[in-house]
């Protein structure tokens, strides 16, 4: 049995028939080939699978593809515009905000949501805003710097 869904992914319309139990992250990764959203756990805690759903940061491993019907999804692949890196992408590169890179797409998209809510967060607000995303490499020190860099660039 499948359900048919229609949504927008990175600005492009997508139509698909999916198993009702198919997770959004598997739909994005395996059916659409958008492998930027990664899977690091099955308990909605690591945040590596974070994508934007109608502008909200959501963990795509704990959402069904069917629930995304009618929504607009942005993945890390859709963040750069016209070949220009998003300021957050630049910030993570400039400030060494990533090492292995596995958590990075989710971290950047969560930061994107944070900056949409609060364009000039202080350190504490950045740390509060990103606590749903785990990074095991950086100790977070440079992630805070990367987000500050982006906030300055975007202001």
């Amino acid at each position: 049995m499948t359900v048919s869904i229609q949504l927008e992914v990175n600005g492009k319309p997508v139509q698909a028939a999916v198993e009702p139990r198919r997770l959004l992250v598997h739909f994005l990764r395996e059916d659409l080939g958008l492998t930027g959203a990664n899977i690091g756990c099955e308990t909605s805690l690591c945040g590596a699978c974070t994508v934007l759903l109608d502008g909200d940061a959501v963990k795509s491993c704990t959402m069904l593809a069917a629930q995304a019907d009618g929504a607009s999804v942005t993945t890390i692949e859709g963040l750069a515009q016209n070949g220009e890196l998003h300021p957050l992408q630049e910030g993570f590169w400039e400030k060494h905000g990533l090492q292995c890179g596995y958590c990075t797409p989710g971290m950047i998209l969560s930061a994107n949501y944070l900056l949409a809510q609060n364009p000039s967060p202080n350190d504490e607000e950045i740390r509060e805003g990103l606590k749903g995303n785990i990074c095991r490499c950086t100790g977070y020190h440079n992630i805070v710097e990367a987000v500050k860099y982006a906030a300055e660039r975007m202001s």
């Binding site: 890196l85 596995y102 606590k131 785990i134 440079n142």
Partner: protein, 781 residues
């Protein structure tokens, strides 16, 4: 290019990773790919009475269900080997798939292969395994008690090995005449590595060629190929290619050869089609080798002046249910040999019992033995500061190996090549504002309320693993050199093929800096290839903070060979003697005749044309090196942690963390700092939050991120870093290694800080992790 070494150039790895284009193993998709799910034991110890796979096999789309019977029928070795042997080590077999007994929760019992990931999981749940549960023992101390359930018949008393280093008699004598002694019983808590990318493998066997390509999460593809072919699958080594694509962190967990990867290889061979398996977080936590898990009694003897006269250590170290790849080396040669710390200690004895328990195997995890040793030594030094009245700073200073004593031969085998420990301590005190903090502490002690504590950790590590002859004499079944093949192309751009295999460390960036500096060219003209056994001839991989010191040195040596060959070609073309040629800023020049010179590109082109060429030289401009270091490297430093402890609730707040590290020459400061940050987070995590907890039946009750507390961003604070620089004297780059330093130093600094805060309560020790409950209980007991 001059000045490129020691410069924070941005990482070339990042553009792919920040745009989602980096390809990790689970991102890969190949034609005809099937999916595997592994059926695992829910019991820590049980006999398998029977397996009924019929319900799984009946599901449409299920391709195969394999058990130990199929491993036997395949006529392959079918085991997971241990790669480091100690004298009298008990080495019970570790079958790829458990045949009649399971020995830890998560032990593989069967594997299901299906057309789809979801279907494979469904089918795995339909495999009915009839278990007869048996008594289990998960605790390292309980496993040594009389009558404890046996993990292996071959290992009476659950003892895997009994190992010692140093002289017991001289230590006994030191204690007999000591003016001060301090002692401690401690647990070094078991940790789960938690690379955010779970382990994964895509094995593609092709019966028409007899070849198999395996993409997998690996820190050392050649080591994996060797163990996979030799001990597990019995395939010829040259028929197997292992590729590590992007690897999402390792911290040791992706060094080891595991059953699961071999099982997936067997599935691909059986079905003659590609098979992929990706661990769930729970699976990876049940099967990735864990770290630490020691129970230790230790004691320090000092004379009336506060000089250390003896150190005694007795440790029971958990091995888990089977001996993992390098497991026996971790609590022995990477632990007992570090017991001298930064100190001149005339008598040391360290005794270690390796213990089988019904738990996930334990092996190298970031620091591997050295954090445990540092924790022992630096906790004792804290107590010694109190016992002697000298305080934590002076007792350390008084015992530092003096700068004129290097090379310094310790009593536990290692010879420190270089060091200068005082300046790192001085700088750390300055950064933290020690005197002001002491006054603040005194006033809080007078006034009550939240207390502050200041903790020190002056650590040493032995890294850059390591001289092959030395590790061979100690039981390693592998060499510890590194290879580098450097090829200068006809247009003077360069490709480096390195045996170091990056998984987040930024090798491509730093290795290009090494070549660019030595060859006087732009780093952008250097490509770095790693992580593929078909491209790189052999490599030992990335672990033990070895990639810059060993892998980087191999690259430097190859570049030097290229320059030597280039001089001969240039001398021929310039009609000069090769001895008169100099190489500088990308050009070969005749000494004293600056107008007679050839650029690297001119020489490279001629090397490939070979039209006008020395008779005694082969064409081409490339060089291969196998660099085997003369010694370990010995990074060191002093870390200071400041905490605030709420004695009403037991909660701890990190206020400051300052680290002064000496990692020798630095190739890319930004990357070095990043490595320190990450190590600090893991070490602070161990001290305050992380704990792999087994219940009495051997269930891992902290097996998911719901209950295993990996540090999150709001738990941590900005780190304050600085460096001193004492170059390594025995490698061409003067580098030492930095990957593990943060994790080695920080647990002791944090615990010392908390204990310091609680000194007015008469508390001298609390075992990690220092949860509010433990702190509160200590304060209220």
């Amino acid at each position: 290019m001059a000045g490129v070494l020691g410069t924070s150039i941005k990482r070339r790895e990042d553009p792919a990773l920040i745009t989602g284009r980096g390809k990790y193993t689970d991102d890969l998709k190949v034609e005809g790919m099937a999916h595997a799910a592994i059926v695992r034991s829910p019991y820590a110890h049980a006999r398998i009475r029977g397996i009924d796979a019929s319900a799984a096999e009946a599901l449409p789309g299920v391709l195969a269900v394999l058990t130990a019977r199929d491993v036997a029928a395949a006529g392959i070795p079918g085991v997971v080997p241990v790669g480091w042997l100690l004298p009298d080590l008990k080495t019970p077999a570790h079958p790829m798939i458990a045949a009649d007994t399971v020995r830890h929760v998560g032990d593989a019992v069967a594997v299901v292969v299906a057309e789809d990931r979801y279907l494979a999981r469904d089918a795995a749940d339909r495999v009915a395994v009839d278990y007869e549960p048996l008594d289990a023992v998960a605790d390292v101390v309980a496993a040594l008690e009389d009558g404890a359930p046996a993990v292996h018949e071959e290992a009476p008393g659950n003892v895997a090995f009994d190992w010692e280093i140093g002289e017991r008699e001289s230590v006994d004598a030191a204690f007999a005449s000591a003016a001060h002694t301090v002692e401690l019983d401690l647990r070094n808590n078991r940790l789960i590595p938690h690379a955010i990318e779970p382990r994964a493998v895509l094995a593609s066997y092709d019966s028409s060629t007899g070849e198999m390509t395996i993409h997998m999460t690996s820190q050392n593809p050649h080591v994996h190929r060797l163990l996979m072919t030799l001990a597990s699958l019995g395939m010829p080594e040259h028929k197997v290619r292992i590729v590590a694509p992007e690897v999402g962190g390792g911290f040791g967990s992706k060094i080891h050869h595991y059953a699961d990867e071999a099982i997936v290889g067997l599935c691909s061979m059986k079905l003659d089609r590609p098979v992929k398996w990706t661990a769930t977080r729970t699976e990876t936590n049940l099967t990735d080798a864990h770290g630490r898990d020691h129970s230790t009694h230790c004691a320090l003897a000092l004379d009336a002046d506060g000089r250390i006269t003896g150190l005694r250590v007795d440790t029971a170290a958990a091995m888990g249910a089977y001996l993992s790849t390098f497991a026996p080396a971790v609590p022995t040669y990477l632990y007992g040999t570090l017991m001298s710390g930064q100190y001149d200690i005339p008598a040391i004895h360290c005794h270690v019992t390796g213990v089988f328990t019904h738990t996930t195997p334990v092996d190298a995890y970031r620091g591997a033995g050295r954090p445990e040793a540092t924790y022992v030594v630096e906790r004792l030094m804290h107590l010694a500061g109190d016992a002697t009245g000298l305080g934590p700073v002076e007792v350390r200073r008084r015992n530092f190996v003096p700068p004129d004593a290097f090379p310094y031969q310790t009593q536990v085998a290692l010879a420190y090549d270089s060091g200068n420990y005082g300046p790192a301590m001085d700088r750390a005190l300055e950064m933290i504002g020690y005197d002001d903090l002491k006054s603040e502490q005194a006033s809080r002690r007078d006034n009550g309320g939240k207390q502050i504590g200041i903790g020190f950790s002056s650590y040493i590590e032995a890294c850059g693993l390591a001289p092959s002859a030395v590790v061979g004499s100690l039981g390693a079944q592998a060499g510890q050199w590194e290879s580098a093949d450097v090829r200068v192309h006809p247009t003077a751009s360069v490709t480096v093929y390195t045996g170091s295999s990056s998984h987040g460390q930024g090798h491509e960036t730093t290795f290009s800096q090494i070549v660019a500096d030595r060859l006087g060219i732009d780093p952008e003209a250097v490509e770095v290839i790693h992580g593929d056994t078909d491209l790189v001839q052999f490599g030992m991989g990335t672990y033990g903070s070895r990639s810059a010191a060993v892998g980087g040195s191999a690259i430097a040596r190859s570049v030097d060979k290229i320059i030597e060959k280039g001089k001969k070609i240039a001398a021929h073309l310039l009609e000069a003697s090769a001895e008169d040629l100099e190489y500088e800023d990308g050009s070969f020049r005749v000494a004293g005749s600056p107008d007679r010179s050839l650029a690297l590109g001119d020489v490279a082109l001629q090397a490939y044309l070979a039209h006008n060429y020395p008779d005694d030289l082969e064409p081409g401009l490339s060089a291969t090196s196998f660099y085997d270091p003369a010694n370990f490297t010995y990074p060191f430093g002093t870390h200071v942690c400041v905490v605030e402890v709420d004695t009403e609730t037991g909660s701890i707040e990190l206020l400051r963390y300052a680290a002064v590290d000496d990692v020798g020459n630095v190739i890319n400061p930004m990357i070095v700092d990043g490595q320190l940050h990450g190590g600090l987070a893991q070490g602070i995590g161990q001290a305050l939050w992380e704990n792999a907890v087994y219940d009495e039946s051997g269930q891992l009750v902290s097996g998911s991120l719901m209950d295993y507390a990996v540090p999150k961003i709001h738990n941590l604070i900005p780190f304050e870093l600085d460096r001193t620089t004492t170059p390594c004297p025995h490698n061409p780059l003067g580098v030492k290694g930095v990957g593990e330093a943060g994790a080695i130093a920080s647990p002791a600094a944090v615990v010392n800080a908390v204990v310091d805060a609680l000194a007015p309560f008469g508390i001298s020790h609390i075992d990690m992790p220092l949860t509010p409950e433990k702190v509160w209980r200590a304060v209220n007991s």
